[in-house]
Amino acid sequence: MIRSASILLIVAALCAVVGAQGPKTGLTAAQQQQLFQRNRAMIQTLVDSTVDMSTMSGDYVYRAKTYRKVIMEFQRELGSAAETSDAGRIAELGSHLDTLMRQGLAPSMRAARQQAASGTGKKDLMDLRDRTVELVDWLQDKARNQWADTPEVRDVIQKLELSKKELNESVSP
């Protein structure tokens, strides 16, 4: 009885905590709805990537591959933002892409390098590295030649350069 009562109390306390979480950072429901609508594809890809990584948590090569889809989704959105000269959006997505590449993909590739020291996994990893670097090169080239020359775009180009460096280092012997 005491145990049941204590569980009920804990649940009630947790409900109070969870329910007390107000709207995020002062946004209205309509604003949040619009933001979600805008970013839904990227959020969906990120959630899928997270769950996929959990199902194959021991396979770092697979984990690294799941990031490819995420990065392609973000670079697509980044391209749209650049075409509409949306500086805030370019900065936002550029920052996320940098985070995903340097804190998500590169560490996964480093772990995968150790895991696939020999065997076919190593070849997959090198292929993944090369294709991702190609994608980064393509994005950099587009940013330099087709996007407006703004501080946000220059920042994205610089971050992409750092990401490329980390990717190369992540699988180099």
Partner: protein, 269 residues
């Protein structure tokens, strides 16, 4: 006919008419004609006839005064100037003939004017600046949780990250439930929540070592139970197309909690 007023004839003429039938008849005709002439309306005119006459008058050589001894020689006599402006009717300027003659010029001028105005307006126009939208806290959090999961080594850490991700999705659903007019976003969030809880969280919970399950998974189960309750309460206050999604999420959270409790119980045996 030289008589100014036919009604007042001179005496001798009146005596003649008394004795002359023919002249009386002629007089009657003359009177009728005179009357008809008086009734005749003066036709409307622009005065151009009068202008023409007066201009002809002005253009006629001066009176030949050389035959009169009382007049000065012709060279020194100048005709009295006729001030046509005072005498002549004002010319009414009519636009129709003018427009008929010069309409192509008018069209070209109007086109040029419109073109210049349009050029002036468009010349300095910059691409419309989009209203900047705030950055999305949910996207920020999901990116952060994704890389956090990538770094997590132990199943206990991964379970914790997945629970946070589930809470994030649940909260987003509660906050946009009334704003999502079509329910499309709520449906997408429900599907993500289902995947995270049942495919991710529960699957990862099985990886937690039995010795750690009570400590690690107990709070997770409690959080899922709380999420179920909150989702149910929010559903009661939401439009039906959102309420059904929230009720599904409540069921998913409940199922997740049940599965977690089973794992805890298995470990305890």
């Amino acid at each position: 006919m030289a008589v100014e007023e036919p009604a007042n004839l001179p005496v001798e003429l009146g005596e003649h008419l008394d004795g002359c039938e023919a002249c009386r008849a002629w007089m009657r005709s003359y009177g009728q004609m005179n009357e008809a002439l008086n009734r005749l309306a003066v036709p409307a005119s622009g005065g151009y006839g009068k202008i023409a006459v007066l201009e002809r008058v002005r253009g006629v050589p001066t009176i030949n005064v050389s035959q009169s001894t009382n007049h000065k020689p012709i060279d020194s006599v100048k005709p009295m100037p006729i001030d046509l402006e005072d005498d002549l009717p004002k010319k009414k300027r009519q636009l129709a003939p003018f427009a008929a003659k010069y309409w192509p010029v008018g069209v070209i001028a109007a086109t040029l004017l419109v073109g210049v105005i349009a050029w002036l307006n468009l010349r300095g126009q910059k691409p419309q600046q989009q209203t900047p939208q705030p950055s999305d806290p949910m996207l920020d959090n999901v990116v952060r949780l994704n890389v956090e999961f990538a770094k997590a080594q132990a199943p206990a850490d991964r379970v914790e990250v997945l629970t946070k991700l589930a809470d994030e999705l649940n909260q987003e659903m509660r906050e946009i439930a009334r704003a999502d007019g079509t329910g499309e976003n709520m449906q997408a969030l429900e599907q993500m929540y289902r995947k995270v809880v049942l495919q991710g969280l529960v699957a990862q919970a099985k990886q937690v070592a039995p010795a750690q399950r009570a400590a690690v998974l107990g709070p997770i189960a409690n959080r899922l139970a709380a999420a179920k309750k909150i989702a149910s309460e929010t559903a009661a206050a939401s439009p039906e197309h959102s309420a059904v999604r929230l009720r599904n999420v409540a069921d998913i959270a409940g199922d997740g909690a049940v599965e977690i409790h089973k794992l805890i119980k298995e470990a305890a045996i």
